[in-house]
Symmetry: C2
Subunit: 166 residues, 2 copies
DNA sequence: GTCTTTCTTGACTAACTTAGTAAATAATGT
DNA sequence: ACATTATTTACTAAGTTAGTCAAGAAAGAC
């Protein structure tokens, strides 16, 4: 029962918040960061994400070499590469662990064995679906998202001083 | 901790067992059914799926007009249409509720409101990903799976009498 | 060198979802 | 009548998600 109305499933095959937040956060660093590090609290405020939770996501992205961090005053996070060289697919690979829709595709990676592989008629279908998804997400870069934001007229907030009168 | 080794995520954006089992079960009805209804217990045995759980999945598929059912002795499930007219995408639409990777794509359907839609740079990316997935799954039919099974040499089990010596 | 800012690490948890089980019932063929 | 098979509804254990919380470490400002 809970929050579903009359047995209607919403949609699964869904992205976790880690991925959704992760992509938006990296975009935010790129869009609002003027060379300097961008701080968690500002990203969290602009993107409406819990700062504590965002920090967890950033650890993974930093370990994966997508962003870099700097501690202390005037510290924050920056992109590790130029936005046109960061693919959305990379971020999702980190936050979701990959694009396999089922574990059977990759028994070693998943750690689960499937003894139906030899006779399975669906395995390659799932595999191909995952590959299509991966290719698509790898075709979109952070720069693309920034371009889109400019077209949408999203205001940049580069200057720290602009925050005084909020 | 649980069963993940050292923080390694397996892969999400994953299909639920309802979808995986559902597709395999419909394929099974098509492949092993010789005109007659195919019984849950046989499908469950061949596909190694819990019969009780399979019944739940079949209710949805029947309501969606993908399979038909008949009660009583010699009852069972049959395809509602020819296998070349049943798309894998149809089955997944029923079992997963659709292909939207995030709820923001379809606020009415999901019942959740998102107030960032106007300024959101990722929404259309997620939407396009879902559409690609949907198109792909709609391009595969149950007949395709049967053809694949024949190529793989999966043995048919059409005759009820062949089950005596199991 | 102390203080403040900001990231870092790891433990913890409430709410929810998944992947089932179970039981009573209804229909149908023999 | 009886056995077989699907139908419906209720229930549940285990796992996952989406966070919170607390203590600590690095770096700059003074
Ligand atoms: S390969 Fe594991 S069920 Fe298809
Ligand atoms: S549309 Fe809801 S967060 Fe993008």
């Amino acid at each position: 029962m809970t929050n579903l109305v009359n047995n209607v499933i919403f949609s699964f095959m869904r992205l976790s918040t880690k991925s959704r937040y992760g992509v938006r956060a990296v975009f935010d660093i790129s869009y609002h960061g003027g060379g300097d590090g961008v701080q968690v609290k500002d990203i969290a405020r602009r993107q409406e994400i819990s700062p504590r939770y965002l920090e967890q996501i950033f650890q993974k992205l930093r370990d994966a070499g997508i962003i870099t961090s700097k501690r202390g005053p005037q510290g924050g996070y920056s992109l590790a590469r130029k936005p046109q060289n960061i693919k959305v697919g990379e971020i999702i690979r980190v936050t979701e662990g990959g694009f396999d829709p089922v574990f059977c595709i990759n028994p070693e990676k998943s750690g689960k064995h499937c003894d139906r592989i030899a006779e399975c008629v669906t395995r390659l279908i799932w595999k191909e679906a995952g590959e299509k998804l991966e290719d698509f997400f790898d075709s979109v870069t952070i720069q693309d998202l920034c371009d889109r934001a400019e077209r949408l007229g999203v205001q940049k907030e580069q200057d720290r001083s602009s925050m005084y009168y909020i």
